[in-house]
């Protein structure tokens, strides 16, 4: 029945667009929000009837090759949280009901693609649903038709198409070698010709395509432009989950289920991960715009996930999954803060705003929580995921990479504290003395996300036992 997570959002879109759609326009945010809440509830309460596929009435109509495991659950929850936040913030920010209506449709369409990608067990299906998410994302980025947003969307399209061509070419090579596209068959086929040049080419092409989609250094050029130019509620969705599923999760799944952790591949992935951590953090230090800084921070944090993934041990992959979840939460929170600041001040340029802490206390404090979690300060959730990653690297005797991961956290703290000092501490700029706290929706979302960050940190033993450690079994 888990395939309902693909079919239900599609059904909601169909219903919303029935000829009497005017009646549904107002209900669109509500229906979208309910879907994400339902998805989150299904993961948290984990009803066996839904996940175990003992009785599946859908089987009579659809032949879907799908499966779910502990790793999928982490992703489903992350998608649900970020999607819910994007619906709330987007519906609040967009005053035009028509734009709001299309926003919800596009968010749900992108979710169809992401949920399917979390479940599919076939390389071609992976490609198809990557395209679903990508096309919906292009439109989301440019839907306000601003010059910067159109330019950002264009860059994203071009690089995304290059990534798609790489993946298609890889698929063609894999079909040539194995004759199949299902994960199981391709894995078996690759096992029969491990030294084939075709296989190596196919692996390199697919992984490079995913690096482009995930915005990992040196394929990151599009990330700052897109995140900074898109509306903040779209950036929440893109930075929080889209690039994580399209790039990082699929890489994770392919390494675990298809390609395996070969030593040379591991070396490349770990190097790229470490490079992303350092380059992203150094570039973030030099930024003057809040959203652009968050984009570089995102590149750096994705680096942690990729580095852990490259390590390849069960603990490292569990750490990567946990950091992916944490990143979805704290990066969404920071982009919601950006939305609040942009709404009240009309800009996110750090030189043009200051002293907001006294005027926007909730935004200021939740920003502190998010930045401390990103930097890995205990007892917040980000600390525990980074600890797992560094422990896994040390256990695997990757001391150099562990040192990079550890010291880059100091860089993370440096650029975020610099941002916090400039934007939220001190006296407000002239003309900003009368700025008020962001609206109740923004404040509510900030409190929810900050609560998840603090809660996941304080309830770490429970989160680890029921949510994160089972991911180890996917690798083991």
């Amino acid at each position: 029945m888990a395939t309902l997570l693909i079919l239900l959002p599609l059904a909601i879109i169909m219903v919303l667009n029935l000829p009497f759609k005017d009646a549904f326009k107002r209900a669109a945010p509500f229906l979208g929000g309910c879907f994400y809440l339902l998805q989150a509830a299904l993961v948290v309460f984990h009803p066996a009837a839904f996940w175990d596929d003992i009785y599946n009435p859908l089987e009579a109509f659809f032949a879907f090759e799908c499966s779910t495991d502990a790793l999928s659950l982490v992703l489903f929850l992350s998608i649900a949280i970020v999607g819910f936040v994007a619906v709330l913030v987007g519906a609040h920010a967009l005053k035009n009901p028509r734009q709001r209506f299309f926003l919800i449709n596009l968010l749900l369409l992108a979710t169809v693609g992401m949920n399917a990608n979390v479940m599919v067990t076939d390389l071609f299906s992976t490609y198809v649903f990557l395209e679903v998410t990508a096309v919906a994302s292009f439109i989301l980025i440019a839907m306000m038709k601003g010059e910067g947003a159109l330019e950002g969307a264009f860059k994203y399209i071009i690089l995304s198409v290059i990534a798609s061509v790489m993946m298609l070419l890889s698929l063609a090579l894999l079909v040539l070698v194995t004759g199949q596209t299902s994960f199981e068959a391709v894995r078996a086929g690759l096992g029969a010709s491990p030294e084939s040049l075709f296989v190596k080419m196919a692996m390199i092409l697919f992984v490079c395509g995913l690096f482009v989609k995930g915005g990992v250094v040196p394929f990151h050029a599009w990330v700052p432009d897109v995140y900074a130019s898109a509306p903040s509620f779209v950036s929440v969705f893109l930075a929080g989950i889209v690039t994580k599923v399209s790039g990082v999760y699929i890489l994770m799944r392919l390494l675990v289920s298809v390609f395996g952790f070969e030593a040379s591949v591991q070396q490349v992935i770990m190097f790229v991960g470490a490079l992303s951590i350092v380059v992203g953090a150094l570039a973030a230090l030099a930024q003057r715009d809040f959203k652009r800084m968050l984009a570089y921070s995102s590149i750096s944090q994705v680096g942690y996930i990729v580095l852990a993934l490259g390590c390849g041990t069960p603990l490292a992959v569990a750490g990567a999954a946990f950091h992916l979840f944490n990143h979805a939460v704290f990066k969404s929170l920071l982009f919601v803060n950006a939305q609040g600041v942009e709404e009240r001040c009309g800009t996110t340029h750090m030189e043009m705003v200051s002293g907001l802490g006294s005027r926007m206390p909730v935004t200021g404090w939740t920003s502190v929580i998010a930045l401390l979690s990103t930097a890995g300060v205990p007892p917040l959730a980000g600390f525990w995921s980074k600890l797992l990653i560094i422990m896994a690297l040390l256990n695997a005797s990757r001391y150099g990479y562990a040192a990079v991961a550890l010291f880059s956290s100091v860089l993370t703290l440096a650029y975020f504290l610099s941002m916090q000092r400039r934007m939220f501490f001190g006296k407000p700029h002239k003309g900003m003395e009368n700025i008020r706290e962001a609206g109740p929706v923004i404040v509510g979302v900030e409190i929810i996300l900050a609560g998840i960050t603090v809660g996941a940190g304080l309830l770490y033993p429970l989160v680890l036992e029921y949510f994160i450690l089972p991911v180890q079994r996917v690798v083991g």
Binding site: N105, F124, V135, A136, V177, G189, A192, S193, F198
Partner: protein, 164 residues
Amino acid sequence: MTMEMVLLLILLAATVWTVMTTRLLRAVIGLALTSVILTILMYRFGAPLAGVFELSVCAGLIPVIFVTTVSFTQRLTPEKLVVRKKERMLKFWFLPVLIVLVGMVLTQVHVTIDFPPVSPEALRTDPRAILWNLRHLDLVGQIAVLLAGVFGVVVFFKEDPSCR
């Protein structure tokens, strides 16, 4: 020169024209032409079903969507058109040369098949059965991509009634 070679050269010319032309409508026609030649190539390489899909979707359905989209746009003024053409030629003059050079290099590369051939049984499944019986999920994906395309056209090109 074989028939395939001639077709590939026409395909190349059609794709270059599609990218280089400054008129959206001509680009759509170029794309449709590309699909038609690709269809003929697929027939000649023994993939008639793939050819049918290429013809119906890429040469049929997609140009219809594009033409609908183009109908929402405005034509450039003749002055702007001249400037745009010049800019494009200056930017992309190297593109056909590069494609020919890459093609020449690739013809010199000898690839050795270093894996066991796929068993004929694995390839024997009827493509119709694959599409309609085994790959329902991909059909859902295709529907979702088409929906996204439609939303794109509406969001970017359809006038908002409330802004009139």
